[in-house]
């Protein structure tokens, strides 16, 4: 469920980051202005509670696997949307930094997917509507179940959207959605049941906690609309800026201004780094006889275009010369990549050795 850096393009990641950061700023302002001080330690400790509760499993009857408490919905029920959103976001920050759940760029996506929907959609529009003014155990169970399912479905759908619009994964939209939605239906049902059982327990033991959370009026007239508008604005501005900055390629998000300039530079060896390197290369090339021009013509060895050039992949017949030379560059890329990797680790080794000899290392 956690989105990951490796599947994101900077435009999508950046837009979601800006959006989540904006929502955090908005919620922080609300919490600071409208909620009493006592909520501040409560938010922190309840965030830690989510971690703690996830250590406790229960066995799911038929399947024999085990489930645990999710986070978003129960926090929204106990704290109300604004404080809950901040708490979920903080839990996700810790998960990103310490448990490799996603990554730092994907944090924006994750906060939105797992925080926004439970706190600002599922809780006010499903949970509160079903609960009404007079909560009963039955209503709490039904409300938790439906709200959890809806929240997770929306979150999962967002993951699908973010992944496919980033264009790093090759999964088609419909296939991916057809996989994600049913899986998250199952997860949602489990989360709903768990949330219902914990919330009903709290309701029986200390009804005043639930009552006060229910009675706290949403602040402002159209809180959700404001947040959505702010979110949209941030996303559009950042996404637009990113795309404008990076996209010289008209077909969507497979951008990269620098890739283009890189290849231009490769085609123009008369100047710059290439000229210098070319002069150097004549002296130090240790595989100079390994000529790909000949082998390519002999239809042996490497003969198909470079991995990085998609337009050539789709129209190889239009540009046979380019495809041939790019085969060479792709081999050069592989060789060079291996060398750089080796160099990187060699540098690390040398630094480590040097560090061990000098007294100021990791020694306190």
């Amino acid at each position: 469920m956690h989105m990951a850096d490796a599947l994101l393009s900077p435009a999508v990641g950046g837009a979601m980051w800006a959006a989540s950061a904006g929502t955090i700023a908005y919620c922080s302002g609300k919490v600071r202005k409208d909620i009493d001080d006592s909520k501040i330690p409560l938010m922190g400790v309840l965030g830690a509670f989510i971690f703690a509760a996830q250590m406790i499993n229960f066995t799911i009857p038929v399947t024999g696997s085990s489930g645990h408490l999710g986070g978003g919905l129960i926090l929204a029920i106990l704290l109300g949307p604004y404080a809950a959103f901040l708490t979920i976001a903080s839990v996700l920050v810790v998960q990103a930094l310490f448990f490799a759940d996603g990554g730092l760029l994907a944090l924006g996506c994750n906060i939105f997917n797992l925080g926004f929907f439970p706190a600002f959609i599922a809780y006010p529009f499903i949970y509160k509507k079903i609960i009404g003014n007079q909560p009963t155990t039955g209503r709490i169970s039904a409300a938790s179940l439906f709200a959890a399912i809806a929240g997770l479905q929306m979150g999962a759908f967002c993951v699908v959207l973010e992944t496919t619009s980033s264009g790093i994964s090759s999964l088609p939209f419909t296939t991916f959605a057809a996989m994600m939605q049913p899986i998250h239906l199952a997860i949602g049902i489990i989360e709903g049941i768990v949330t219902a059982s914990v919330v009903s327990f709290v309701y029986k033991a200390r009804p005043e906690i639930m009552q006060s959370a229910l009675e706290s009026r949403p602040i402002g007239i159209h809180p959700v609309r404001n947040i959505l508008l702010a979110f949209l604005a941030m996303a559009v501005v950042t996404g637009g800026a990113f795309s404008w900055f990076v996209s010289t390629n008209p077909d969507g998000l497979e951008w990269s201004i620098t890739k283009v300039t890189g290849h231009e530079a490769l085609n123009g060896p008369e100047q710059g780094v290439h000229a210098t390197l070319k002069a150097l290369q004549e002296k130090i090339a240790f595989l100079p006889d390994y000529s790909f021009r000949k082998t390519a013509e002999a239809a042996k060895g490497v003969s198909i275009p470079e991995a990085t050039q998609e337009h050539q992949k789709t129209h190889p017949e239009q540009n046979p010369k380019a495809s041939q030379s790019s085969a060479e560059t792709s081999i050069a890329g592989l060789a060079g990549g291996t060398i750089t990797l080796g160099l990187a680790f060699l540098i690390g080794y040398i630094l480590k050795r040097r560090n061990q000899r000098t007294p100021h290392g990791f020694n306190t």
Binding site: G47, A48, A52, N57, L97, G102, L171, G262, I304, K352
Partner: protein, 270 residues
């Protein structure tokens, strides 16, 4: 249960790494956060079929680990627990994208495998640098850095609170969970009913703890923010660190260094 327990132990040992005293540890946290962000943006900005241009980026995590004296094996082990979601999604690339992009004699490599390898490489790089950032900076310092870079104060306080109480509460729930396991031989009594009341009790205890903490904080004059004693400042070495690494990353992004080096040794300039 065991895995989460060890995850919490891991969390502690990762946090302890930040107590080191190396050139990298002594840098201001903001510099390290900024460099890490530039790094991640550069790495994810490659398109899906670009694999070898990513390799030069390994120099950053390697240099950081070496200079900071982080335990290499520990970091490697943490990275190998790659986010399962990435693997699950990435493995479909070879399935859906079968067009052969590179041919070695009879042996062809499809675009799907290349993009899968690219996804894995990105994952190692981004996840690795996140771990390294925490390992050389510490969570508290990262939060303070983010706060001085514009994160709302309420959220910073929330993060610090959360982090402080993760250790307290996970130990408590670990004890409760172990006690239940011991009492439920043969796995009976681990169902949803005992679970609900157990987590419910944990929640109520947590709530009471929060009330006690609030009272204690009020008694010490809490007005809504933490006053941290910040010792480091953004000095010349921080500026140098940020400028040097960022321009290096941007250089790598603009020039395909793998390609250049490879051309050098294979003698194949077009």
């Amino acid at each position: 249960m065991a895995s989460i327990h060890s995850a919490v132990l891991d969390l502690k040992s990762l946090d302890l790494l930040a107590n080191g005293n190396s050139t990298i540890h002594r840098l201001d946290a903001r510099a390290k956060v900024l460099v890490t962000l530039v790094f991640i943006l550069c790495v994810v900005s490659y398109s899906r079929y670009e694999l070898t241009p990513l390799f030069p980026f390994f120099i950053f995590p390697v240099v950081m680990i070496s200079l900071a004296g982080l335990p290499t094996l520990f970091i490697l082990k943490k990275i190998t627990l790659l986010c399962p979601f990435v693997l699950a999604v990435g493995i479909f690339n070879p399935v859906f994208d079968r067009e052969i992009l590179i041919q070695f004699g009879h042996f062809g490599i499809s675009g799907g495998w290349i993009s899968f390898a690219s996804i894995l490489t990105r994952s190692v790089l981004t996840v690795g640098t996140a771990f390294i950032l925490v390992g050389v900076t510490g969570f508290t310092a990262v939060c303070q850095a983010l706060e001085s870079l514009g994160m709302p104060k309420v959220f910073a306080v929330q993060l610090l609170f959360l982090y402080r109480y993760i250790f307290v509460l996970t130990e408590e729930s670990g004890r409760a969970s172990r006690a239940r396991e011991l009492r439920s031989c043969g796995k009976k009594g681990q169902g949803i009913h005992s679970f609900g009341s157990m987590v419910g009790h944990l929640l109520l205890r947590t709530w009471q703890r929060a009330e006690r903490i609030h009272t204690a904080m009020l008694a010490r004059g809490f007005t809504g923010e933490f006053h941290a004693n910040r010792l480091s400042r953004f000095g010349v070495s921080e500026v140098r660190f940020v400028l040097a690494w960022s321009s290096f990353f941007i250089f790598l992004r603009l020039q395909n260094v793998s390609q250049l080096l490879g051309s050098l040794v294979t003698g194949l300039f077009p």
